[in-house]
Symmetry: C2
Subunit: 454 residues, 2 copies
């Protein structure tokens, strides 16, 4: 209701401040994307020739070189690498897990270490106590937790239409479950995968140890696996769970953000950043998370270039390193921008997958949100006109206070968490048209920002 | 722009005519669909246990019995079959095709007969002439066409955001290509598949012979195959194409629409129909076309039933038979409704796949369209609020003039034609949440129609 109201209330001012030319230019951007878009071919390259690219891995470094080379091909005014030290966590040999009941028959589980977890140093073997929340854990008597593995099994809430909201609400289990468990004397943590699919793939993702708390191993179970373990525990609460993981954290490694830019023709010192993150988890190809955001950001520059729509302000594509387990690239980019007194007009991020566009989430003061919403009618013919105030993104987050507006590209969220951080996040899950439409939507808004400012 | 304007202009009147109760009741429908929806499980059954179900086939009859049984399980006031005679076209043995150039080396092509085509009666062997349009065909000299196979190779226009529009514009080639070719003396027709994907799967679909024109065989090539044949013809315009198809039309067969209804509590004589088509092409499982529309229509009744939202007007789910090659079921349903003086308030159809909902297309007079648009704000939280005037659907089309409004469920159209009428239209292409959200959106609008009328 808010959306529709905002749209029409500002339709007239949009008509006043934009022109028929804008409408035609935006059509040009979409035509180029739909007829000759390069996002899909670039994504195929990144996913199938390099694959998963966790920070610090050889693949991450290949991806840096790939990004630089591909941006150079577009013929930009400047392409460069921005150095940043990143964490280097490695999974090691494939993880193993087994539950054994009183009758001695073992059942194997698909598990994966959560990113940042310590290994088990051989086999970890303990009883399991299941909880649905931190509060439930806190309320358990000490002897129910001590020496055990805590199994966090609260599902993502499927009733939310926006899946990101369900992800956010269930995320504490993965992020801080291990330390919360350790505070109560537990020796390990198992976490139900943050996924709305019912399948056998465990989903990894970042976890963090709290300072001064014992570091215990943490692993994800698939959603089916979590349901199964819960059933087994109902029948035999004394069953023994064995977990074997060889993951470890190595010293930090030098890596890079990859940056390419078209210099603004009128206001070169005003910068519009558009980016995705180049690193991914190691289990799959990092297709929707976030290869799509990278190729779309590069495509924004290419679309502006080949359509001849020279931006009046500087437009910069950034392939951020290390979003997944540290945000070191995003932090570095904001730090450098601050220390060199760069004037950031806006920063846009695509990190919700390469699905059909719905619109944008705008993180700015109310007046600036309304300014961006003026352009909503121009995106209406492309189904990308849901312009709402909201969280924009992780990598551009550190630019808050430096950029007038942070803008998150918003696309259909139904399928994202089915494959997010799991072995299933592969190139074949991406639809060419959905991906290219996203790049075009982003280019359209960047074009308007570069022409009218904020 | 129109959409947003319409939304807010009517927001106040919506607030006046609907209540907080409506908002809560709609939430109930979505909760039930997202938490315990049955569409996905029903679709798995239909697709994997019965599969493709072309009119007249044993599978179509199994599907009729399946639909009746499943509707009976919901506990409706009435479930019945409505008899209708349907065409019975059979594909016969797998089709074969080969192009052979001057150098004698043959290249095989994936082809499939278009639905309704005659067979080749052995091998059809001829040279090929490629055209992009009926106008181009008409302009060719007689000797360029006579005795040849006409190859219609105009792609669907990828620049349209709404893929249905591109399908509509390219469809003449498939529907009437054979007769247009025959009028110029050609002995066969090849048609580029109506798909926006670049792959090796031919897409079938209905074609019709014009009265008094020679009936020549017509087959579809995959999009990759069409590109390849076009390349070969550029190098060697005299190449010979061999086509072998065993398809034929048998006598009409008795079949059925499957109907289930909840009687209206206040106005039982006012009917709201919601339907999809039960028949499908034979090449795949008919998942998105239109198993999804069937299970969603059944789900509308189930959602109303289990949430206790007794409709004030009669709500009827119809699984139409024979949409694909005859629309006999849709015609029969409207005929019976007319002959029995049924009062149809509205008819809704889902036949664009089971993808994420976007809204509804409303086919009615302007005042009625505005009445339906009053409810747009209630669907806004679910991302299903694009209420536009537009074409509603094929099976409910014959109710035009009898029903006050025809309403087409509108969902994301990007992936639909990639798999439409091809071997790839299988259950695994359907996402559970996208499908269930569609059923909930349809139920929400049916609930409002049943409460407020038009």
């Amino acid at each position: 209701m808010l959306l529709a109201a905002a749209g029409s209330a500002t339709a007239q001012s949009a008509a006043a401040t934009t022109s028929k030319t804008d409408s035609l230019n935006i059509r040009k951007l979409y035509d180029e994307a739909l007829l000759r878009g390069q996002s899909y071919a670039n994504l195929r390259d990144l996913c199938t020739r390099i694959g998963g690219r966790l920070s610090g891995s050889p693949q991450a470094e290949q991806a840096v070189q790939w990004g630089k080379t591909e941006m150079e091909k577009i013929g930009l005014d400047r392409v460069y690498l921005q150095e940043v030290m990143v964490p280097h966590w490695v999974r090691g040999a494939k993880e193993r897990a087994r539950a054994t009941g009183a009758k001695g028959k073992g059942i194997d589980f698909n598990v994966c270490a959560l990113g940042g977890s310590v290994g088990t140093n051989g086999k970890l073997k303990a009883q399991v106590v299941e909880v649905k929340s931190m509060a439930e854990l806190a309320a358990l008597p000490a002897d129910k937790v001590k020496g055990k593995i805590v199994f966090f099994n609260r599902p993502m809430n499927p009733a939310y239409v926006e899946t990101g909201r369900a992800y956010g609400e269930a995320g504490d289990q993965r992020r801080s479950g291990a330390s919360e468990a350790a505070k109560r004397g537990a020796i390990g943590a198992l976490v139900r995968s943050l996924s709305l699919a019912h399948d056998d793939y465990p989903h990894t993702g970042a976890m963090r140890y709290e300072d001064g708390v014992a570091q215990v191993p943490a692993a994800a179970l698939s959603t089916n696996g979590a349901d199964q373990l819960s059933q087994l525990l109902k029948a035999d609460s004394d069953l023994t769970f064995e977990l074997e993981m060889a993951c470890q954290t190595l010293p930090d490694v030098k890596s890079y953000n990859v940056v390419g830019e078209i210099r603004g023709s009128k206001y070169p010192d005003e910068i519009i950043t558009v980016g995705g993150h180049l690193d991914s988890w190691d289990l799959a190809q990092g297709a929707h998370d976030d290869g799509t955001g990278c190729v779309q950001s590069m495509e924004v520059l290419r679309l502006l270039k080949v359509t001849g729509l020279k931006p009046e302000r500087t437009v910069r594509a950034v392939l951020f390193m290390n979003e997944e387990n540290g945000v070191r690239g995003g932090n570095k980019y904001a730090e450098v921008a601050k220390s060199t007194n760069e004037k950031h007009l806006a920063a846009m991020e695509s990190d919700g997958g390469g699905f059909t566009p719905r619109g944008f989430n705008i993180e700015a003061d109310a007046a600036t949100v309304r300014k961006v919403q003026r352009w909503q009618p121009l995106l209406q013919p492309y189904g990308s006109a849901e312009f709402n105030a909201g969280h924009a993104g992780t990598d551009i987050g550190p630019l808050k206070g430096q950029a007038k507006a942070l803008i998150g590209f918003d696309c259909d969220s139904q399928r994202y968490f089915d494959i997010h951080h799991a072995a299933t996040d592969t190139f074949d899950k991406v639809n060419r048209r959905e991906l290219e439409l996203g790049g075009a939507s982003m280019a359209a808004l960047v074009y308007l920002l570069s022409k009218y400012g904020l």
